[in-house]
Structure formats: structure tokens, C-alpha cells
Amino acid sequence: MPDKSELLLGCAPITEKPGMDRVMRVAINRVRQGKGAATFGRQQAFDAAIAKVVRDIPVDEQLAEWFAHEKMIPVVRRGWKKFVRNPVVIAMAIALLVIGGVIAYRVHEHLHDFPSADKARRLLTVAASNRSVLLDPLQTDAGALSDLYFMKHRLEHYDVPAEFAEFKTLGTRVFDDDEVRRVAQIWIKEKRMQFFLFPAEVDKDGKINDFSDWRFVEQEGWTGVLTQRNGVCFMAAMRGGDKDLTGYLAKKKE
């Protein structure tokens, strides 16, 4: 009993057009390199000779004229509705929407960026992954830690702004980060808030431009609010949105 490839070879295409079935292509290549090459060659020559006679079938003059001039068969014009309903078009539209959405999100995210924003986002990732046990336990006012950083770690201007100076601390640590460099991290009792103090990033002109207002950054469900004074950035970070932190800033203004 002939196997599947032999069966396929029985109806192998006379002219090998692009888009030929892969199984058929494999069967043809195999037979051409095997013992059956001569037999298959005879079959192909036989088929080609018949196909040539078929191509020579004359088309009646009356009909030939009909093909040339009559538009018996309307050209299929795909309406826009059909075009829109095509699954390939739908898939491409969805893909473009997703790509567009991601690009728009990224653009929006960086629209109000400032030089230290990338460092701040990196530290928000640190905040999200840290546990308080990593810190040295220390219960005091956050504002009192400036002296500790200066005396013990020689970190100048690592000051907690007045808005957050009265928060009670759980612990603190100073560590070196590859990108952010010397970072002071403070764990606060209230709402598992964390403070970060780190060197400011220089801008495009190579200068450090401090800012006294508060700027927000977001990363993976965490929000940070930053200010920059004397070349040092302070960031208060907590899980949640802008509103949670805006409340603390408003309280101080009152």
C-alpha cells in the first residue's frame, strides 16, 4: 500500500508555484533525491506535455472577445465594513492601539520629568521591595537625623524638610547604590511611609538646579514626592497615589 508521500506525488503539481503545501514540497524533494527520481521525472514530463495541450485549447473568438470587453464579472470591491471586520485588520488595530497606549503612557510619564526623576523611580522600587528589618532601629523625629548623617556618614545637607521633620522614625540606614550613589533611607511609623535622601542629578548643562516645590513620581503602585535643596533630593514615598501624599503637604501649609 503506498504511503502518504507516494499518494501526494501522484497528484504533484505540474508547475511548482509559490505557496505549495510543505508536505508536498518535502515529498517532491525526497523523491528527486531518491530511487524514484527517474519515474517521477517521467510523470512530470508526461503531465507537462498534457498541460501544454490544455493551454493550447483555442478559446472561441466570440468568447475571447467577451473576455476582453464585457465586464460580466464585477470586480469585487471590498467595502470598508468588510475590511474592518477582517480578523487580521482587527488584530493589527488592537496591536497598534496597545503599542500607542504604551507609548502615550511612557510619554505622559516622562512629560514632567526632572533630572533626578529616574533616580527617584529606582528608589521607589527599592521601597517596594524592602523590609524594615534591613534598617537599624532608631526611634526619633525624622528631622533629627541630619546630624547623624553628617557625624557618622559625612553626608552634608541630608536634611528632612520641615513638612516631614516631625514624623516618628522606626529605623534608618545608609547604603551605596550603583546609580543613585549614597542613599539615606528612613522608615516611618505612619502608613509605612519611607523617606529617601540622595545626591541630586545634574541637568543637561551639567548644573544642579534645586527646586523648592514638590514634584511627584510614580512606579509600580508607589508614589514619591520630591524636593531638592543644596544638591540633595528628599523623597517621601508610600504605596498609593498622589492624593495620599498631597494631604501631608497641605497640612504643613496650613
Binding site: G10, P13, A49, I50
Partner: protein, 166 residues
Amino acid sequence: MPVTTENLPQLYRFCFLMTGDVAKAQSAFQDTVREATIQSEAEEPPDRLWYFRNARWRCVSVGEQDLQAEAGIFDEVEISPEAPDQIGQLTPEQLAVWISAAPEPQRSALALFYLDEFTLAELLSVLEMKAGELSELICSGRRQFQSWLDSTTAYYGGKTHDAGQV
């Protein structure tokens, strides 16, 4: 794939191979195109395969009024190396007469296959059969045709071929 006036000649050739007669081929061709036109106005224009399916059944219907060939009545011999030369001596009319005399569904299979127009998947779709069945019909058609060639090309003035009977 839509049908355009460029591939309508292939439809006519198919009708001619199926009927072996110019008048019958024209009739089947024109009826098919006419029905396609009516259908195009009422709903979506039919695709290319629709034309050949429709024409096939018209040609089969026309052929039913004539004498019918029976399956397996032809001798079969293996394909000869001289076959292309033998075939080269044939006229399209002689080929059409032979194909149109084959029993269904072999006739449709041979006519569609030798148009050299369709992929295997398209052939199987139009003929509503499996690859194994199509292969059997084509292979036996080749052997029968070779046998017919051997017995007729001498008559038409070609070289004779001493093929072994299968």
C-alpha cells in the same frame, strides 16, 4: 480569490475538457457566468472555486445525456519515456475527447488537474474528495492515457511504443 475576465478562459477550457464539445462547453460556460452575474447582483460575488464547482456540475449534467463510460474498462500501462512526444502529436480536441470520455469523478479530476491552475487544497475542495482518492484517479488516468496513446499515436502517425501491460 475573485474571478476576473483574465482567468475566465481557464473556465472555458475546463468546460471543453469536461464535455469534449465546443457547443456544450460554451453553453456550460455561459450558464455558469450568467448565474454568477445574477448572484453577484443579489449578494456577494462568488469566488473563483465557485465558478469551477458550478461549471463542473453543469458539464456532468450535460454529459449524463450521452453514453456513459464505465470505470475500469481501459487498459493501463506504465508511463513511457516517449510519452511527451506522443502527447505532442495530439490536438486539444483529441485530448478533450479522451478526458470527457472518462467516468466521473475521474473526468473532473483530470480536467481540473491538467488545467494547472489550482493548488492541491483547491483541487480537493472543488472535487470534494481526499488526496488519496485524487491521487488514485490521476495515476490510473495517466496509465490509461498512456495505453490509449500507444494504441492511437501509430494511427495518427507517431512512433509506436511497446509497453508492458499492467
